[in-house]
Symmetry: C2
Subunit: 118 residues, 2 copies
């Protein structure tokens, strides 16, 4: 039970598309991630997907809709079942929340599970 | 389903200790709040309590322990059952997450339910 500085946590790794768990909230993992480029389109059938941009900006592509820009200080919550793809032209730093055990890639099953708690 | 700018939401009200729901994540309400001063000590028996400071700084008092300072860009998650009290010398702006229907005051039962979605 301690204060968690998100920038400190982000400074502990350089890898992209590699969420690191920084805390737990009920049965959810709170993670920080850096990324650049685009993720595969995917959906989460049983959970919403929480994004809060901490630094930089990203686009959230929603299948069949215009992309949404999400800048530092902005959130985007993708409802369950909605096909989406985060994308960033330059490196972006993001806070994620997902239920423990949910793959970040939803049904796309591309990336490894989040790293252990840092 | 849209991008949510937290500063825009915070600019829509001036009241303290008056959380406003800005989105939903699964069965949780995501809220923004401003406060100054101290809240009553309380606990949530069945849920953790999520705080992320967006602007300013606060102290999290934990019963029987030294207070923790929580500054902008820092999180504090109070585990369920832990008696705590947020406190701020000057106005602070905070993102909160709590299960829908959970009173912010836990067992202290002092404040009204969060305002409807803005």
């Amino acid at each position: 039970m301690q204060t968690i500085n998100l920038n400190d946590k982000l400074s502990m790794f350089d890898s992209h598309w590699d969420p690191h768990v920084v805390s737990n909230y009920n049965n959810n993992e709170v993670m920080v991630v850096k990324f650049k480029g685009e993720f595969p389109y995917h959906k989460h059938d049983t959970t919403d997907d929480f994004f809060l941009v901490l630094e930089g900006e990203m686009e959230m592509d929603i299948e069949g809709e215009a992309p949404r820009k999400v800048r530092a200080g902005e959130m985007f919550i993708v409802p369950q079942g909605v096909v989406h793809r985060p994308r960033a032209k330059d490196e972006v730093k993001v806070l994620l929340i997902e239920p423990k055990g949910e793959p970040n890639s939803g049904d796309a099953d591309r990336v490894p599970a989040p790293k252990p708690h840092i």
